[in-house]
């Protein structure tokens, strides 16, 4: 029986404003409990919300980046429900008229490029935090501590159409969205601190069915790895239930990373009657075309545009271009290298950034902005490969030395000090080739009897003799010449 998984993602992105969405309390992470919760955030009697321009501006930036429709007039609505981390016991959000509608995100799943459409995105306020550490209440009851520092942090809730068909696709979307909001500078992307939180709506149906199955919502997954595992588990669970003849209950579930399973949250039936109505404390938000134009004029070059430029101007493949534009800092680093290289050297630069550099950063758990080797230093190294001074293989050793800080990370100095210059002298290579041919007549015979693999073996021998420093292309040419003559 062929099943299809249908996934939609709702992502809560904390916007990188200095102050909260409806109050001037700071949004900085890590403050002492309730020291960043003013009278408005604590919902003391008589307090009122006042809207932060910075939150709206970031929403506009996002809208432009995904080609969404920016509503000229949007409305804030109260979402009413009781919860201790929600001080007013309603959340100010947007319901009927959100600030953004539509839009799409294009990204790679493995080698395949795909586009996911967005339904909408809207502004709302974040809730506080519950700390379940064994506190004792006034009657000796086991208690939870409520910290309202986070309450009122601006969120942009981004909702996709239920268009994704695999956990891998959902994760790729989430990564691309993450990359975009960090690229734009509207979110710091710190998932450990809760800046970027995904809820997955998962349902299954038999392949060919057009009707959507009942969905469940997996809430607040805070890593890409867990998102993938949670979706996989949930899809499998639903398929098992349906194959056993059961039905799926529409509910909210939490992912337990220790057990690698999703669990139903205890919710009451009517908990979902939020009684949305327009917030009478906030007149409608007007975003005129003048404002949108100003934001557009000040936007950084978007990942899509830069991807395009990398392909058309620098000749990179779509895949490489996409990889390099996952993070703005990576794209910047790459472009800086290219600026210091001769024309047409973008491909090696791309290979090195996505290959050796990425591996080293990963190994040492560093972000590219923390790379010990600067873009200029990389450019110097790559220049020596392009001009034939060293081979790619030798270059890896030089890079490793640069990484450790040898010789002030000067590629030339390292090459000089270790005597790594590639041998390009034709006569010298000829001499080595002659020596190898003389030393390995058996392999020569194998080659002459048609075994092409023998050729590579001979190349290997020459490279060994040269201690890796011969220009491999020259070796190949000279060897070919001598063998075929």
């Amino acid at each position: 029986m062929d099943w299809e998984i249908v996934i939609g993602l709702e992502t809560h992105v904390q916007l990188s404003t200095a102050s909260k969405i409806f109050s001037d309390s700071s949004t900085q992470y890590g403050a002492l409990p309730n020291t960043q919760a003013g009278v408005v955030d604590m919902a003391l009697p008589g307090t009122l919300p006042v809207m932060n321009r910075g939150a709206v501006e970031r929403a506009i930036q996002f809208g432009l980046a995904v080609n969404a429709t920016i509503a000229p007039v949007s409305v804030f609505a109260r979402k009413n429900y009781f919860y201790p981390d929600l001080p007013k016991n309603y959340q100010i959000s947007q319901f009927d008229l959100p600030i953004l509608q539509g839009g799409s995100l294009t990204f790679f799943v493995g080698e395949n490029e795909t586009t996911v459409n967005l339904t909408r995105a809207h502004l709302e306020e974040d809730a506080g935090k519950s700390l379940h550490e064994n506190f004792t209440g006034p009657h000796g009851e086991s208690s939870t501590g409520i910290d309202l520092n986070r309450a009122g942090t601006p969120l942009l809730e981004i909702v996709t159409e239920p268009e994704m068909r695999s956990a891998a696709e959902a994760v790729a979307y989430a990564r691309a969205l993450h990359g975009l909001v960090v690229w734009l500078g509207i979110c710091d992307g710190n998932m450990q601190e809760g800046s970027f939180r995904c809820d997955a709506n998962v349902s299954v149906r038999r392949k060919g069915d057009t009707k959507l199955g009942t969905r469940t919502e997996i809430k607040n997954v805070n890593s890409f790895r867990f998102l993938e595992r949670a979706i996989l588990y949930e899809a499998r669970r639903q398929i098992e239930v349906l194959e056993d003849g059961g039905t799926i209950v529409q509910e909210t579930r939490l992912y337990d990373s220790d057990r690698d399973e999703t669990r139903s949250m205890r919710t009451k039936e009517d908990a979902h009657d939020y009684r949305y109505f327009p917030d009478p404390d906030l007149p409608p938000l007007v975003v005129d075309s003048g404002w949108v134009d100003r934001v557009r004029a000040n936007m950084p070059e978007l990942p899509a545009a830069r991807r395009g430029r990398f392909q058309t101007e620098l000749g990179l493949t779509a895949y490489d271009a996409a990889q390099l534009t996952m993070q703005r800092s990576t794209a910047d680093y790459f472009e800086e290298i290219v600026q210091h290289l001769p024309q047409g050297s973008a491909k090696p630069a791309a290979n090195w950034v996505l290959g050796e550099l990425a591996a080293a950063l990963n190994r040492d758990d560093l972000d590219i902005t923390q790379s010990p080797v600067s873009a200029q230093q990389m450019a110097a190294l790559i220049t020596r490969i392009v001009d034939g001074t060293i081979s790619n293989k030798i270059a890896r050793d030089v890079f490793a030395a640069m990484w450790e800080g040898e010789h002030n990370r000067d590629a030339d100095a390292i090459i000089e000090a270790r005597g790594l210059k590639q041998i390009t002298d034709t006569k010298a290579i000829e001499a080595m080739v002659d020596q190898v041919l003389a030393d390995h007549p058996a392999i020569v015979d194998e080659y002459r009897s048609g075994k092409d693999k023998a050729f590579n073996s001979l190349v290997g021998q020459v490279m060994r003799a040269a201690r890796g420093k011969a220009n491999p292309q020259q070796v190949t040419n000279i060897l070919r010449e001598k063998l075929d003559s």
Partner: protein
């Protein structure tokens, strides 16, 4: 017309009100008058009329005013405690509530 006991219970739950049976009965009986009153609204045809967002939106342009994104510095623990002075239960600068098991 009135509402059922079930309706009263449902609304009381939504509003987080644990009504005594007396309060509940009283509400139920009030509602028959109240519903008769507010149901009069149905007698008016409001086709094509925009709901009123802000009382003055018919009079002058009313748009949400925006505040510059400037943050106040974090409160000292003394200032924080002063804002929490009315709380029934606190510990370590946190508001305390009976634990919810999720």
């Amino acid at each position: 017309m009135s509402i059922t006991q079930q309706d009263v219970d449902r609304i009381a739950r939504l509003a987080s009100l644990e009504l005594t049976s007396q309060q509940s009965e009283s509400i139920q009986s009030d509602f028959s008058d109240i519903l008769a009153l507010i149901q009069q609204l149905q007698s008016v045809d409001t086709q094509g009329v925009e709901p009123m967002a802000h009382p003055l939106c018919g009079q002058q342009d009313v748009a949400l005013r925006l505040r510059d994104d400037v943050a106040r510095p974090a409160a000292t623990t003394e200032q924080r405690d002063a804002l929490m002075a009315n709380a029934p239960a606190t510990a370590d600068g946190l508001f305390l509530v009976p634990t919810v098991i999720e």
